[in-house]
Subunit: 506 residues, 2 copies
């Protein structure tokens, strides 16, 4: 592992070089995970440009030993990271890591094969089709999304990619029907005000005019879930309803759209229905959560992200479609330099020989399947259910504490492992839920908790209310960490409320 | 590493679990790289569905030890892989792996932070802006693509992503100028008949009508490079020239478009120019190859893929833009649940605090920067130049052998490490370069070489000629392997030519 002498031939894949470089990283990671709980969860020093200033302006001329590089990681990089794998990370949604996920990724990146067409690594393509079927079965998805049911799945990097691909499929199907590319300006897509921003971005990317992106309001009455009635009221005349995005477990509040009735309504208008279960889809491995996917057989496509709450290191998004041909019609390419693989080898048109480049945005692709497969093998369905239930139980415990404390209130009922709560209004203006004083108090409370370094949470705003989100789901988050964050919140709340209690002691 | 008892709590990030699972993979990979040269390069048994049949229909209920999983990889998966990291892999373009690349990826996936906005991991975002600047300097890109020059770079997964993002930026800029979304049907994009298929796919994805995708023919006279004259002749009236893709090192033949004159021509029409140097960009680390990028200052964006020939395991694509605002205007989103990070922390609008989600398709993203940074540190610029020159020298050696053997011919002059050659016409029909007999002979020769398992090459067709491509660039490919493939080719050529030599002994 010494610096390479200038005249030594490079052997970048020599087993000794692999062992040496990797071993240094493994030791570093073992140390990192021993200590991660001690670091401030969120980077303490947020002055922009600090890290940039620490680093030289140009790459080194000569190679360096891995130990030197890791010393710099410890000194310059680690203090500027937000530790997403801290057991005290409750922000956004979890992005899971695990020993099996790391191992699976090492296998993927170590073999470094590129299954862009089936023939370019048949076992990799076939393992992918197997593992997406396994996932569909684990979540009890309708048979139409399995290869044996005429559908099928693919592993992509993110929900946004899945949305872009399915929007393009829906768009091209519609344009084929309407005749004339100008009709693209009449295509309309629908989402709720709780749908992830990635959907709007995806719609813009595929050329849907931003004025045709329709955001339908939700309300507390439906638990901030989108209803068929609201969609019916929104679908206008003269334009072409193209695509509806339904979400199970929204980012802000964990709300659930009413999948069955949305599917029925969308079918009346000939719309493509995409079911985004990025976060909460993982919970469907437990039978008690499968009802939320009721009606999924009315969807045209479904996506969920194992990299969120399913112990899968970044990145991995499962996308299933009911009619693969819609997808491949929009995404296929057939250049000459690929004709020697695929068609000649019996690959083309054979459902057992999938050219996955035609199921995604990019031509090239990683061997993600082996990562997800290693994880499923290593932990098993039982292990995954235990993982999910452990977090749901901890979130439930927290929700009960919040509900029992008169200073706080639960803003929307918890469905999975996300608790949305706040300091309750205290100043005799209970009718004004979004009053400034209450919002300021909550903003201050969140800032104080995050500044402590002992937890990191994020917020949401709904109906004018500033809401604090506790998203339980870190791979090493236990009930104990949730209990500690509750203690922390109580202490900080006492401090914050001192400033807000009026002199007359209301 | 035993199977977990059912009642044991899962500790997916326990340092012992990480060490155990990872160690098993490291041993597996060391064994793999000791043996990879012995495997048939291309999966021998190409019967579709074979691997699928070997695997159970559903995920296991209970977790299993890593050793069992790796036994299955050895028995069921490895024999069905094409070994992209074999030193005898000469197909497509190389997809490099290296010990530093694996180590860097382990660090990235082990820390598993998500720098989608600057504040979500400041050091990760800043390291990315540093490392893309390092790369730009290594390749002597014009200053306008560096952050200090008003431009900047981002790490994406593939050229297709880079093309989609820049096409969307160009499209939205043009639509803003033209007024009215219907104008999308008048936007025209230009490429040569040698441009990678990913460009057509990207254009379709962003909603450019397929009839407005203009393929300009190239010819042997320009070395199959695109010329300004050809573009000038192709730009039509009544439509809006939007975007021109210029390539340095095309996939089929390694051709080079005439960047400077194309840039000048495109500017006359107000077109966005993207410079795709996916493969050959790596060579620009050597001064002797930097002339190919002459005129790059006339481009609006440049991309190259370190995962091809720059010792970077999949995936990593550098995209630089001259005006980041064009990119972020098309790709920004600003949902409420991100407002607590970024703006409040001084991040918004600060060039030192980049929200990289607005520079790419997806919202979420991996910490790719640390991988590329580890590689640059570990090997240094000198190591990288040696890596490139070693392959160029081997390709040159091969080209000379081909040229000196009267049975063969070099079809286009080699520029980098790709040699395009074939068995020369032998049957008195030299005027007909694309004659069937010659093409059949070459097809048979390629099939025989690939069937041997001792090399894997792919083909291309140009001007009706079936051309064999030898793409040198595997991380462990040495001159010795190129010499062996030349021996192999000579032997197989003798066999093939026996069938084609006419009875009269022509």
């Amino acid at each position: 592992m010494d610096s390479m002498p200038l005249d030594a031939p490079m052997k970048p894949l020599d087993p000794h070089a692999i062992a040496g470089d990797s071993q240094a990283i493994l030791e570093f990671l073992a140390e990192y995970y021993r200590d991660v709980d001690k670091y401030p969860v969120r980077a303490a020093d947020l002055e922009p440009g600090r890290v940039r200033k620490l680093l030289p302006e140009a790459a080194p001329e000569h190679g360096e030993p891995m130990e030197h590089i890791l010393e710099d990681v410890r000194r310059d990089i680690l203090p500027g990271l937000t530790h997403w794998q801290s057991p005290r990370f409750f922000a956004f949604f979890p992005m899971n890591a695990s020993s099996a996920g790391l191992a699976g990724e090492m296998l993927s990146v170590g073999l470094n094969v590129v299954p862009f067409v089936w023939a370019a690594s048949p076992a990799a393509a076939e393992l992918e089709s197997v593992v997406v079927d396994w996932m569909a079965r684990l979540f009890s998805l309708p048979r139409r999304f399995l290869f044996s049911g005429g559908g099928g799945g693919v592993l992509q990097g993110s929900t946004c990619e899945a949305v872009v691909c399915t929007l393009a499929a829906a768009r091209d199907r519609a344009l084929g029907r309407l005749g004339g590319h100008e009709a693209i300006a009449r295509l309309v897509v629908y989402a709720s005000d709780q749908t992830h921003a990635t959907f709007q971005k995806g719609a813009q990317l595929v050329g849907i005019p931003s004025s045709n992106f329709r955001v339908i309001r939700t309300s507390a009455a439906s638990g901030y879930g989108l209803t068929a009635e609201a969609v019916r009221a929104a679908v206008g005349l003269g334009l072409v309803p193209l695509y509806l995005c339904a979400t199970v477990g929204t980012t802000g509040l964990g709300a659930v759209d009413h999948v069955r009735e949305l599917g029925e309504e969308a079918r009346r208008h000939g719309m493509w229905v995409h079911l985004d279960a990025a976060y909460a889809g993982s919970a469907a491995i437990c039978p008690e959560f499968q009802d939320y996917l009721d009606g999924a057989e009315l969807a045209d496509s479904v996506s969920m992200n194992p990299h969120k709450w399913f112990l899968t290191n970044m990145d991995c998004c499962c996308l299933w479609v009911a009619r693969p041909r819609d997808l491949t019609s929009a995404l296929s390419t057939d250049p000459e330099y690929l004709k020697n693989v695929g068609a000649d080898d019996g690959g083309a048109g054979n459902p057992a020989a999938i050219d996955y480049k035609d199921w995604q945005i990019s031509m090239s692709r990683r061997f993600r399947a082996i990562k997800l497969w290693v994880i499923l093998r290593r932990y098993g369905a039982a292990g995954m259910r235990a993982h999910i239930r452990r977090h749901v139980a901890a979130a439930k415990w927290f929700e009960q504490r919040v509900a029992a404390d008169e200073r706080f209130e639960v803003v929307v009922p918890r469905r999975f492992s996300l608790v949305c709560f706040r300091l309750a209004p205290r100043f005799g203006r209970d009718d004004d839920d979004g009053d400034d004083a209450t919002n300021h108090a909550n903003r201050d409370l969140l800032a104080a908790v995050n500044a402590s370094g002992r937890a990191f949470m994020t917020h949401f705003v709904v109906d004018g209310k500033f809401v604090i989100r506790l998203a339980v789901g870190g791979a090493s988050t236990e009930l104990q960490h949730v209990m500690e964050v509750w203690d922390l919140l109580q202490g900080k709340a006492a401090e914050v409320l001192q400033h807000y209690v009026k002199p007359n002691g209301l």
